[in-house]
Subunit: 144 residues, 4 copies
C-alpha cells in the first residue's frame, strides 16, 4: 500500500505545469485532491482567469465523487444529460464533466486521489495531468 | 499600465445608458465590475424588471470567471451544454452565457474588468456595452 | 406621490461620495435600492476592499427586509441576538445589522427605497447616507 | 509596483510549512490567494483534517473581503458579534475571523493578496504566515 503524500501531490503539480509550459499551453490551474476530496496541493499559473482554479477542482472532485475519470463523465453527459445534471445537486461540491479530471491509483489499484486541470483544451488539460501522475510513477485513470 | 478607476466605470455606465436611450432600446441595467469581480458602478434604468440587474451582473461576472466575453460562453453553451451547466455550480457567483458581457482591457491587453448589460436583445445589450467602453478609450472584448 | 427615479438614486450616490471625500472618510461603497430591494445605483470608491460593496448592499437590503433603518436592527441584535441571527436564514438576501442602512421615504411617508453605505465607521457611513438623501429632498429614516 | 507571481506564492507556502515543521507545529494547511481572492498556491501537510484547508482559505478570504488581517476580524467578532455573524451571509465565500489570515502588500502598500494558515494554535498559524511572507520580502499585515 502506498501513502499519498504531499510530496507526491506537489510533484504532480510541478510536472503538470512544466508539461504545459514546454507544450505552449495556455496558463493552467492544477488541483490535486486526496481520496477524501480534500485539496492537497494547488497552483494557478500567472494569468489564469478568476474562476479557473474552481474548474480544475471541479474536474477532480467530480471524478472522485463518481469514481470515474472526468472523460467518462463527459461521455455520460452526452448520453444521459439528465443524470449528470442531477449530480450537481447531489454531490455537495463542484463537478465539471469534461476531460482533465484524472483519478490517481497505486499499483494495486487502490484509489489515492485525483488531479484536475483547466486552462487549455480539455484534451491538453488531461495530457498535463497524465504527465504529472507519470512523474510520481502512479497510475492515471482519465476515464473513457 | 492603466488603473481602472471609478470615473472610468461611471463613464461606461453613463455612455451605455445614453446609447440605449438614443437607440430606443428597452430599459437597460448596466453593471461594471473590476478585475476582482467586485461591482464598481451600476445603474438600472427606470422600468427594469426585478432581477434585470442580476442578469447584467451575471454576464459580466461570467466573462471574468472564464476570461472570455459572454458571446463566447453563449457559443460554448450550444456546443457543450453540460460544461456550461456545470459552471453554474463552480464559479461561486452568477454566470449568464449570452452576449452582453464584455471584457475591458487596456492597450497592453491587461484585463481591467468587465461590463454586463441586460434589458434589450442580447445583441443590443452588447452594442451598448461596446459604446460605453469606447467612450473611455479602452479595449472591448465581447467574445466570439 | 413621488416616483423614485434613477436620477434620484444617482444623485444620492454622488452626494454621499462627495460627503465622504470632503470629510476625509475611508473609501466608501454606496448602494441604492428601490422599494423592491432591486439595486438601482451603485458606486465603490477606488480602494474599497473586495466585499465592501456587498456589506453596503446588505445594510440597505436588511433595512428594506424589516422596514427599519439598520440602526434599529443594530439595537435589536444587542437585545435579541437570536432573532437577528434567525433573519439571516429568512430574508433570502444579505442583512447587515449595523448603522448605515437608511430608508428613503417621500413627504407622505411612502417607502421609496434604501441606501446602504460601508467603508468608514458605521456612524460616518450613516452620515454619508443622510447627506445623500438630503440632496434629493427626500426623508431619511436611519432607525433608532 | 510589484506583480504577485506564482513563484512568490509557492515560496510563501514552502517557507510557512518549513517554519511549522522546525517549530514542531501540528500539520498545517496553507492557502495563498491573489488580490482577487483567487487561490494561487496551496498545500496541506500530511495528516491535516478533512476541512482544515477550507479554514485556511477562509482566514485569507475573510481578510481580503474586509481589507483587514484576520486578527482584526477576531477582535471585531468579540466586540460586535452580530456584525461578523452577518458577514458570513454577505461575503460570498468563506470568512474565518481568527488570527492566521494575513494580508500581503508591496513596499508601496498596494494589496497583493493574502495567506491563510490553519492547523496549530491561531498564534502559531499566524507566525508561520509571517515567516512565509518575510521570505519573499513583502509586507505582512496580520491585523490588530
Amino acid at each position: 500500500m502506498t501513502d499519498f503524500l504531499l510530496t507526491h501531490a506537489q510533484t504532480i503539480v510541478a510536472e503538470a505545469l512544466a508539461h504545459g509550459r514546454k507544450s505552449g499551453f495556455q496558463p493552467l490551474a492544477v488541483a490535486v485532491l486526496d481520496a477524501r476530496g480534500a485539496l492537497k496541493a494547488f497552483a494557478a499559473e500567472d494569468g489564469t482567469s478568476l474562476k479557473r482554479g474552481e474548474i480544475a477542482r471541479g474536474k477532480a472532485f467530480g471524478a472522485l465523487a463518481m469514481g470515474l475519470g472526468s472523460r467518462a463523465l463527459h461521455r455520460m453527459a452526452g448520453e444521459r444529460p439528465h443524470f449528470v445534471e442531477a449530480l450537481h445537486g447531489v454531490v455537495e461540491g463542484p463537478l465539471v464533466p469534461v476531460p482533465g479530471g484524472v483519478l490517481i491509483r497505486d499499483a494495486s489499484g487502490r484509489l489515492l486521489g485525483a488531479v484536475g486541470i483547466s486552462g487549455d483544451t480539455s484534451d491538453n488539460d488531461e495530457a498535463a495531468a497524465l504527465a504529472g501522475i507519470a512523474a510520481v510513477k502512479l497510475t492515471a485513470d482519465p476515464g473513457q
